[in-house]
């Protein structure tokens, strides 16, 4: 089974930055419908800062790399997505450890740790209409693929598909967490912006590990 190298992990982040930047207006439009019209700006600002930081000096090990990523997000984004994505990457890095590559199992473990961070911070449950609803099925699909013998590329591809499906499944939901919850029933009928950016996160991962 092929391992995921540091350059590939950086490529993941770079592709994620590209996706949120290209879709900045779209993410903000989603956030306009059920939030406060800043998710695109927030993600583009945050991932822009991350790539600037990595451009200056790329750490050689996963723990340092993702500590930088998480800290940069935490200190440049704000809002709900800053601490959530920030904590995701911080815990991802801690669990990945001082390594220069991740095998499928290590990748899965790091993603689970990241998800745990999102849960610890946001306390969302499945169906609350948050990024959790894209992240959790993505990691489940990755695990299932690995369990079924898939390689990293196939597993991340399955994760990306599951994230997209999870994102789409947020549309009919009535939000119970985050800003969209204030809308009550009016939150139904719209994709969750955070679930949408999380789908990009897994699309980027799949592309970087393809």
């Amino acid at each position: 089974m092929v391992d995921v190298s540091i350059p590939q992990l950086v490529d993941w982040l770079s592709r994620f930055r590209d996706l949120v930047t290209e879709n900045r207006a779209y993410l903000t439009e989603l956030d306009s419908a059920i939030g406060d019209a800043d998710h695109g700006s927030n993600m583009a600002r945050g991932m822009g800062a991350v790539m600037d930081k990595l451009g200056a000096a790329t750490p050689a090990t996963a723990d340092e790399l993702f500590k930088t990523v998480g800290m940069t997000l935490v200190s440049s984004v704000g809002g709900a997505s800053g601490p959530l994505y920030g904590t995701f990457f911080l815990r991802f890095g801690t669990t990945a450890g001082a390594v220069s590559q991740l095998d499928a199992a290590a990748l899965s473990a790091a993603l689970h740790a990241g998800l745990g961070g999102v849960l610890a911070r946001g306390k969302a449950e499945a169906g609350d209409k948050t990024m959790f609803d894209a992240m959790n099925p993505a990691i489940e699909a990755l695990d299932a693929a690995i369990a079924g013998g898939a390689d990293v590329a196939a597993a991340t591809s399955a994760a990306a598909q599951a994230a997209a499906a999870g994102r789409d499944a947020t549309e009919p939901l009535v939000a119970r967490k985050g800003r969209a919850s204030y809308l009550g029933d009016r939150s139904a009928g719209h994709l969750d912006p955070g679930a949408t950016s999380t789908a990009y996160l897994f699309t980027a991962l799949a592309a970087a590990t393809a």
Partner: protein
């Protein structure tokens, strides 16, 4: 989008340049986007620190000064500040007696202030989370109610308490009591336009309005037909009175503008609200009419009612000297 700005990306930084220029009595940390009083927190005084996304001016930066906040942290428009900004303000404002964080109940604000409190080792931090918006149902399964208008009144009242020398526990207890005693409800005639988004957050026809909005340009709970001011007042006041009993004692009432509604309309609305409160036997002891917690250029207003008592009124009446609220000094 028609705004007096240079670039959507620099709105906050540019505006803080103006704040610093207009208020030599304050000190602006441009890097961390913190407005401090001109002089450090008096040793032994509890520091009152608040902050949140920008776009709600004069909240919070306009409430820094004697008798109110010691520091205010600005995030991007409608985006909570980051933990390191809040940490800097917490350490920068601490006068040795600890720091009260006043946080409006939004997921982002709560998380970022929480992380900041964790980071602020060596500083005694207490937090009050305001959640006074009756438009949102209270529940442990959701994010709960938003923090809106009560935040303004609370900053004034606990600011005075800190000035008088109450210790951190007492200030925090008062803050929670004030939050528990206040309720708000807001409405909008138009959306606002977030500079970075470049267009109105929502579209709304000329004959409709949004009831139960917060302060982030978000749509409200219900879209209802435009109505006379008297009816709007009723739609704002009724849910507040249904949620808490305000009779039997003095109250502080704020009629707040969302930023794009002129004073002539705000006073008119206050007149309508006052009639309803008189009819309901709710005593209005103090009033505030104007733009205090806004949502950029949104047209609309909100009503906040706070059950007061002698202690709260004493702290309300105490001197305050900030750009947004000033009396007695």
């Amino acid at each position: 989008m028609k705004k007096l700005i240079n670039d959507p990306a620099t709105v906050l930084a540019d505006s803080l340049v103006g704040v610093a220029a207009a208020h030599p009595e304050l000190r602006v940390d441009h890097e961390n986007r913190i407005v401090y009083r001109g002089t450090p927190t008096r040793a032994g005084k509890v520091a009152i620190v608040s902050g949140g996304g920008s776009g709600h001016e004069p909240l919070h930066g306009g409430f820094v000064g004697l008798g109110m906040l010691d520091a205010a942290i600005s995030g991007e428009v409608f985006t909570s500040p980051t933990p390191d900004q809040v940490e800097a303000a917490t350490k920068g404002a601490d006068g040795g007696a600890g720091v009260l964080h006043i946080v409006k109940n939004y997921t982002g604000d709560v998380m970022n202030f929480e992380m900041a409190a964790e980071l602020s080792e060596g500083v005694n931090v207490e937090t009050v989370v305001t959640n006074d918006d009756v438009a949102v149902e209270d529940s442990t399964w959701t994010a709960g109610r938003r923090g809106v208008g009560v935040t303004v009144l609370l900053e004034k009242i606990v600011g005075a308490a800190a000035e008088e020398g109450l210790d951190l526990q007492a200030v925090a207890a008062l803050a929670r009591r004030v939050n528990d005693s206040g309720r708000s409800m807001g409405m909008a005639l138009t959306s606002c336009t977030v500079p970075a988004a470049g267009k109105p957050t929502f579209e709304i026809p000329d004959d409709m309005m949004e009831m139960g909005v917060g302060i982030h340009g978000e749509p409200g709970r219900h879209r209802v037909p435009m109505a006379a001011a008297s009816s709007v007042a009723e739609q704002l006041v009724a849910p507040i009175l249904a949620d808490l009993d305000f009779t039997g004692g003095p109250n502080i009432v704020m009629l707040n503008g969302m930023g794009g509604t002129p004073l002539i309309e705000l006073y008119l609305m206050f007149g309508e609200v006052k009639k309803l409160l008189d009819a309901a036997g709710v005593e209005v002891a103090r009033t505030l009419v104007g733009n205090y917690i806004t949502s950029l250029d949104m047209a609309g207003c909100s009503v906040t009612i706070l059950k007061a008592d002698d202690e709260i009124l004493k702290f309300w009446d105490a001197p305050v000297n900030t750009p947004g609220l000033r009396w007695g000094i």
